[in-house]
Symmetry: C2
Subunit: 505 residues, 2 copies
């Protein structure tokens, strides 16, 4: 027993140091985007690259392999759901993934990503897809080699998905996305051009000080504790955890209406997930979210199901009007209608809840076609624009607002987009269960109380960190696979309330 304990302890010490290095890299990245004076960029790139090399060497070292070999028989004797057994399992999974890819290829992927990013920034600025095409071609070539190393036996796209949502497959996602298309396209067509919701009251720039005030009032109610959280302005909102007791959120204020509030609420959802991971996991690699699709379910739950919900606005509309008296008698129902308005548009990150998934599905389809070679890259912009027409009924005027809009392909991220929609669907599945188990929640929200919701999320989702693979967690919390129906039912009900029965197909 003592030898067994020391075997596990040795592994945990090594993994703990790796974890620390990962957190240090997260701090460097946060600082780079939030605090660093611009001239520090080149030195920061060196620092991050030194750290990345160190982490790669240690996370693929034969010594770590031996520690895992020694720990596995010990772990086999433990409760399979115990922290230690799970840690050994997840560590083995990640180790095998890391060692499968030769260091040369990793280095090439990193270099290509950074060269591609520079080209993408320039190409987007000039709406010049041809200037970006060779970089995307290179990305695809490297991704094919990566897939060959990782999982030559499965469908190629799955190896890419696995980076962001372990165990997800294109074959499972396809029917779910088909169902969404079937339901969403007619819905968007029916209400997307309706003039029923007048969003003029919120189509303006509010003063930043006021936005910060209402945001503070909201987040304080949600459970943003300054002892363990920060919130800073940046260009692109994000969340990062330096520890489960050191959560950094960012938002941006140079936007119209209440977008900065929704960004903050969204990032708070990510942050609360990591804040409520069980403290005993903090020194291990299990102290993060189960997957991107799980993370996004949390941010979207707070953003869309709480922050764009009617009970929330019944509570906060008066506070908003207090902060911005120019809003006059604007009430909860009006705000609720505006912030849920269906507005088919070019840019994914500005999309409403109803159109958002169609942006994702389009990318999911194109990624597979690019990867297989079925779609020559020269035809990508045309294919993009055609699908924007078919799914959202809009005509893309230039590639800047179309195929060049996202950073993802610019930095060689393929397989990422579907996780956004998995997040939407999971958020609604969770909401269905929460609504059953916390019947008083709407009243609590109306009183500005979020404690029971936080506790529910902690108990059922957050505390586990990534102890369970995304699908295992799905099974445990939701009793079955990803299901689009709760999302569609909720959407239909919401839009019926806002647009009236007659308009909804």
């Amino acid at each position: 027993m003592s030898a067994a304990t020391s075997t596990l302890d040795e592994l945990k010490r090594e993994l703990g140091e790796l974890k620390d290095l990962g957190r240090i890299a997260a701090l460097l990245a946060w600082d780079q985007q939030v605090m660093m004076p611009p001239a520090g960029a080149a030195a920061r790139a060196d620092q991050l690259s030194t750290l990345g090399r160190l982490m790669h060497v240690r996370s693929t070292s034969p010594e770590l392999g031996k520690l895992l070999d020694a720990a596995e028989p010990v772990a086999a004797g433990l409760d399979p759901d115990s922290d230690d057994a799970r840690l050994v399992k997840v560590a083995r999974y990640e180790f095998e993934k890391e060692v499968k890819v030769p260091q040369d290829l990793r280095a090439e992927l990193t270099r290509a990503a950074s060269e591609s990013y520079v080209a993408w920034v320039e190409a987007r600025k000039n709406s010049d897809f041809a200037g970006f095409q060779p970089y995307l071609e290179k990305t695809l070539e490297l991704k094919r080699r990566y897939i060959e190393c990782m999982a030559p036996e499965t469908e190629p796209y799955d190896a890419l998905l696995d980076e962001f949502e372990q165990g997800a497959t294109a074959a499972e996602i396809r029917p779910i996305f088909a169902r969404l298309k079937e339901a969403l396209i007619p819905l968007v067509r029916a209400v997307g051009s309706s003039g029923a919701v007048d969003d003029a009251p919120l189509r303006r720039r509010f003063p930043i000080a006021g936005l910060q005030q209402i945001e503070q009032q909201v987040l304080a109610r949600f459970g943003f504790d300054p002892d363990a959280f920060r919130l800073d302005p940046t260009v692109h909102p994000f969340e990062t955890a330096i520890a489960i007791s050191d959560i950094r959120l960012t938002t941006r204020y140079e936007v119209e209406g209440l977008e900065s509030l929704f960004s903050s609420v969204h990032e708070f959802g990510h942050g609360l997930y990591e804040r409520q991971i069980a403290p005993e996991l903090d020194s291990t690699m299990l102290a993060r979210g189960a997957s991107l699709g799980w993370h996004e379910s949390q941010s979207l739950l707070w953003e869309n199901l709480i922050g764009r919900g009617l009970p929330f606005w019944e509570r906060f509309a008066p506070e908003l009007v207090d902060v911005f008296p120019e809003l006059g008698s604007l009430g909860a129902a009006e705000i609720y209608a505006i912030v849920n308005k269906v507005h088919p548009d070019f840019i994914r990150v500005e999309a409403d809840e109803t159109t958002y998934s169609l942006h994702v599905i389009l990318r999911f389809e194109l990624e597979q076609e690019m990867l297989s070679g079925e779609l020559p890259l020269s035809e990508l912009p045309v294919a993009w624009n055609q699908r924007m027409h078919d799914y959202l009924g809009i005509e893309v005027p230039e590639d800047r607002l179309g195929v060049l809009q996202d950073v993802h392909w610019g930095i060689g991220s393929l397989g990422y987009f579907p996780t956004y929609t998995l997040g939407h669907l999971r958020a609604s599945q969770l909401w269905q269960r929460i609504s059953r188990e916390l019947p008083d929640l709407p009243e609590e929200i109306g009183r500005g109380e979020f404690g029971s919701l936080r506790e529910w999320l902690r108990e059922n989702v957050h505390r586990h960190g990534m102890k369970f693979m995304p699908k295992e967690l799905q099974e445990r919390v939701l009793g079955g696979p990803i299901d689009p129906e709760p999302f569609l039912a909720r959407l239909r009900e919401k839009l019926t309330g806002i647009y009236g029965q007659a308009l909804i197909p």
Copy 2:
């Protein structure tokens, strides 16, 4: 030649990674003091300790020793003043120092320092020296063991000095400090209780926004470039360089009068030193100041010789009065007199330029007596208070304001204090040469122009980083050893101007 180049390149790559790790640790420490939510402290300690272990392993590794062995013959063929030759020399010096101390002793020193710090905080709060005494005893015991490893053949105190000012010796410092005592004690006695300077106009708390405004106006003139510098509020002002193009200054505003401005100016002096190191040194360990005594010469030059100088106030008094109209007609000469007023008091960090060195000398003497065992620790507070009486003519009412005031002994730093006074003396030596070589400087300062001063400092001091040992740099820039006379002459002239000939002994 190609093999030689590659030998050097290999060493430089390894040293470059070590340098990156050091800079990363600096960022973690900066973030901890300036940005981190308080609950992040425990995880941050783990992260810093992981990083410290990594750095220690690599900076003492046999591989580094071999790289140095291989590089030395190559370096011997280079110009001895070339960057590469100097890098090899400094790297060897630091490597030998690192490997001399067994890892166990390093670990014990680190642990004792952190335990001692906790005890010191508590002891200072309660003015309870007895509670701190055992920790100081432990520190002394470990320091004696450290000295035994480092340099058993020299005077014990020198090994401690060497940590902060390489090559400095107690034997050299003693006569310099004796001369200072001889001159300063009568000077303080003569004017310290004089009512000649009425500091009432600045004995108040100014609004922070105004302090920040004047500070920005001053620093912008000095050459604070937001592209490469930050300035943030903290509890204890400090400067740290994350790269020579990423300089972080901090100051504090919860102080009386213009103290926050002087803190910012002081830290700017440190920052400019690192900002102006030759860019080609940035990826090496040479990209830092030559020593603490050199660093302090730069911060004190900006703080005392510029920021408390008459030409500076001729320029900025009107700007100050614009920001704080309540100052009425307060003019340059009055401000100059107030900010140079001699006021013997308990606390070193609040001391004026005239009394400051007496605080340091007292500590230098007591450290040697403690180390040799000549002074039993139980008698330390009495010895402290006696010397405060003898040197500054004041009676210490409690140990909180006496022997327990500084963090240095609390964290096991002995041998640090003298570098403050070496900085004062060097600043005046530099000033003497600068005044000769830049005769128009007072007029330039009056016009708010600091470019020629910055360039002088860059050319003569900053660009070298730590290519030269402190004494070599001293010889190159000042043509001789540390000399107290320029400091004393300047002080006497200044005080004569402020207090009148009759009062000055």
